[in-house]
Symmetry: C2
Subunit: 581 residues, 2 copies
């Protein structure tokens, strides 16, 4: 089309109208706000998941799992509550993943199963490689629409524009997300640190964040994990320097454990091994899987002929070997745990071993890690752990990094995420300290509905977001009753009394079975007297004319409770069973 | 007698003979060596106890308890193994206690009960005060011969001379022991640190230790708890300075928790409260007990009229109150835990509260402490904990202090004690680093018999020294079978099947009862099908002519296991019960 004056005028009018209508539409009405709903990761470390909802469209950021607390007897994993997402499944435009740690991707297969629809998943290559492993294992590859992205990409899904921004973290290919909607713009950092000497050379894209910040970011959501730590988290490459120091002049066989997903750590171990002409053995299932995925996708550069099989270990001298293995958290069933307990199939710890634990215990694992170190020391090996060498750095930003991000972003509103209650509060104080208005900082909880636009932000309600417990094949079928029973059984065991009844009279028994209560062989007298107590209770019932079974059972339970407690100070679960013939 | 020349000559001869015979007797023959047998506290933190045996005489140093590991389901406490002491009870000359912490005195009442003889106990005044509380509670006051000593005292019991030497520690009135026998001299540090500004003004008696060292100490036994920490543990008084800083200008109600036994810490809180004109409430059973004992015995100086009852709290402004309370380890049932969970009888946490946690989590308690902090933050209070303020110092010597003691003592032989395996090894390396010959350092374990005299030291054997588990009234009656059952029950619960039999045929049932396995109300189908599976198994037995009960039970167990595992991936404990009528 040739642009004429008339056309120009029309265009100008059009533009003006557009401009006006834009201005008229701003700020959007209440119903047009962006809803941000953290489903998991607030008030806890783990199971990170956030819903972003605008009008009738919804995207999800991350879908992680969490490992159970000590009090969750027998529970395998804990998931976020998918109820709100299931209710709004028709709105779902896609699942955007920041990185490949379990607390960000571990819930995906459960969500996909639950939704029963094809879910578009956006993730960087390495993250997608790890998700793929899970999809294959759960036979769900056909249930998702895999979209591999890279840092710098922008994806438009309905009203949502999502930009992937490079960050550093303890796993390769991590990104933050810039989410743009007509109502508001959001920067979600995901898990991050700032590493000026990252192993892959890709420093967190601070320029882009600064640019977006200067254009105006309405809501910042940032990782609170390390907000209690002063200073700046050291670079991953600082650990490599320690490895070189430890390898130099070492004649021992070297066994190193770290988090399998920390591919850059593994790279540095392999590089150090190559420098000192050592062969490398990869040991432990998750380490083997991770090395396979990472080298297939090009995230791990392995020199030719450096890897050997653990079965060929004997062909090499101690000084020619490095074993990279699992078990950095002291897990008794992981490879290092089995070595420490003398139960590893191919490797016995000996005096000429140097064991390097290149990790920190995750809170709650401190005692397990100590236990493994003690066992390894008992076996005569030299153990190098964090207290005595700089062999681990965190993947999360400390205070100075968090302040830098606040300063680059200068958000209107701030929502600290990924952290326990005290961390969120400290993160809020940190933001206030660098100039964010206290009234614009929000401490939310799982399920909070945070409504935000260019001008305002508030918490307007709450959706269901309780932890969902997984035990075996059961997802969410275990509640407090079952857990309380397990707790009671774990403390004082079980005392079963069986009586066969006929026409209201006991005709056989009482038979007694106990487990986890006393050592039965040495407690004959106790058991015999308990049997007499039951007989007395039955007789009393008969004499009093008590015939309904629940009353009889109560009598038995109470008389046994009194007797057993008086003799042992223990309170086993007492189960009276009456059988009618 | 008038001393004549003849007499003089005789005396001289006598002296010479004595002298000769002394020399002839040195070194003593093998049977005259001093046996040092650590019964607890090696390869672990807790239940400290050491036997010293010379010829037919024996003394014991400390008799502590330990708190159970996570895997010790339902166990209340763990004791040292008293078998060797019971076997040699006739040799026992006395029990010598270094200080009043539970891991040094908590086993005494159990030992006294077990021995059934009157045991002489030597302890300083405050330590004895704490022992007395326990003796009264267990009605054992008549079973012991209490001997109160003070630092500087020497006690001769048979061939043993024991000297009490002032040390600093996180409880008042702590001592090290210098033990002199004809065979060898030993310095046992007990738990200690070096505090140049102790609250009671009594600095560890380094002069005396140096003097004994210069006279020659054969064996040094020293506390390894903090050997992994570089530097010098700060003075207890440094914490007081922090309290003043926190109190100054504070308008909030102040709630402080610390270890009840740390009387000097409590003193500093009271002093700070007095300075800022605040009243003090003592809350929590163990805190109330400890303050009572400590002030009765003069170890705590409480200004007049400063203590008030918690029920009178409402008569004071927030800025006029300090509450000293229990629960520094995050124990949910202790006072602070109940406050955090909104279950305290007299105190509700509010925004205008400053809660100070003047303690570090004991290893294993990290998560419980975090949980309490998070709850308190959730309730809006300001929580001050170690990460953000210098409000706790350890009671144990760090590396520089340990080196100083090595240097003052210059022992012939060294036995690191009170520590997990890795700590003992690090302590050995530390001693070697300051000049002790590696061959003269011994890493022993609980039960090791260390034989020492002026010239030699070696580990010659082992006595029984397994941990003894206490559950309720039962001491040592819980073994691996019971613990394994509790563990299994805690993981997947329990599934009971009861069938009444008559002449080899099932005539009633199968009845099914499950606990801690599935939520029964939502699992009717599962339970019904399980019942069918049992019926099938019974039928199969009948058809195959299987009549013996153990085979029938096995069939039931196996078919149920298969079915339940296939449906749930869980492995409950399956208990088939057959009743004959």
């Amino acid at each position: 089309m040739i642009e004429t004056q008339q056309n120009k005028n029309e265009n100008r009018n059009q533009n003006r109208q557009n401009h006006r209508s834009k201005r008229r539409n701003h700020p959007p009405k209440h119903k047009d706000k962006l809803k941000v709903i953290p489903i998991g990761g607030l008030g806890e470390i783990g199971k990170n998941m956030t819903v972003f909802e605008y009008k009738d469209e919804m995207i999800i950021v991350d879908c992680g799992l969490k490992f159970p607390d000590d009090e969750m007897y027998g529970i395998d994993i804990v998931l976020p509550d998918f109820s709100y997402i299931v209710e709004n499944a028709d709105k779902l435009k896609g699942l955007f993943i920041t990185h490949g740690h379990e607390d960000h991707i571990g819930g995906i297969v459960y969500l996909v199963k639950k939704l029963g629809i094809t879910v578009p998943i956006y993730a960087t290559k390495f993250t997608m490689g790890l998700i793929d492993k899970k999809l294959v294992e759960h036979r769900l590859t056909t249930k998702v629409d895999r979209q591999i992205v890279k840092a710098g990409d922008r994806v438009q899904k309905g009203s949502f524009e999502v930009e992937f921004i490079r960050v550093n973290h303890s796993i390769a290919d991590s990104v933050a997300l810039y989410i743009k909607t007509p109502a508001a713009t959001v920067l979600h950092t995901g898990d991050f640190k700032i590493d000026y000497h990252p192993i892959d050379g890709e420093i967190m894209d601070l320029q882009r964040i600064a640019k977006l910040g200067s254009q105006g970011i309405d809501l910042l959501m940032a990782d609170s994990t390390n907000v209690e730590e002063a200073g700046f988290t050291p670079s991953e490459s600082s650990v490599g320097a320690t490895f070189y120091n430890l390898f130099r002049g070492c004649k021992n066989r070297i066994i190193i454990t770290t988090f399998a997903s920390n591919v850059h750590r593994v790279q540095q171990i392999i590089d150090a091994a190559a420098s000192y002409k050592r062969k490398v053995i990869i040991n432990g299932r998750s380490m083997e899987n991770m090395v396979e995925v990472a080298s297939d996708l090009g995230y791990l550069k392995i020199p030719k002929n450096i890897l050997i099989d653990i079965k060929d270990m004997k062909s090499y001298k101690d000084s020619e070997l490095v074993i990279i293995t699992t078990g950095s958290q002291g897990e008794p069933m992981a490879a290092l745990g089995r070595m420490a307990h003398g139960e590893h199939r191919f490797l016995n710890i000996k005096k000429e071993d140097t064991v390097i634990i290149s990790a920190s215990p995750v809170p709650g694992n401190e005692k397990m890690v100590s236990e493994v170190i003690n066992k390894l020391v008992d076996l005569g090996s030299e153990v190098v752990y964090k207290k005595f060498a700089d062999i681990h750095v965190s993947g999360h930003a400390r205070q100075e990094e968090l302040k830098l991000v606040q300063t680059l972003v200068k958000p209107k509103f701030f929502l600290p995420v990924h952290g326990e209650a005290r961390m969120l509060v400290h993160h809020a104080a940190l933001a206030e300290g660098v100039g964010t208005d206290k009234r614009n900082i929000f401490i939310a909880e799982n399920g909070s509905i945070v409504e935000v636009d260019h001008r305002s932000c508030k918490i307007t309600g709450k959706v269901q977001a309780e932890p969902v417990l997984v035990d075996g094949l059961g997802v969410g079928d275990i509640g407090n009753i079952v857990l309380n029973d397990r707790k009671r059984l774990s403390e004082d065991g079980l005392f079963i009394v069986v009586v066969t009844m006929h026409k209201g009279k006991a005709i056989s028994g009482p038979d007694i079975i106990s487990r986890g209560f006393v050592y039965v062989r040495e407690s004959e007298e106790l058991i015999n007297t308990a049997r007499d107590e039951v007989k007395k209770a039955l007789l009393a019932c008969e004499e009093k004319g008590v015939v309904d079974w629940s009353s009889i059972k109560n009598e038995i339970r109470e008389s046994l409770f009194r007797y057993l407690y008086s003799q042992t100070n223990r309170k086993p679960m007492i189960l009276p069973i009456l059988m009618e013939v």
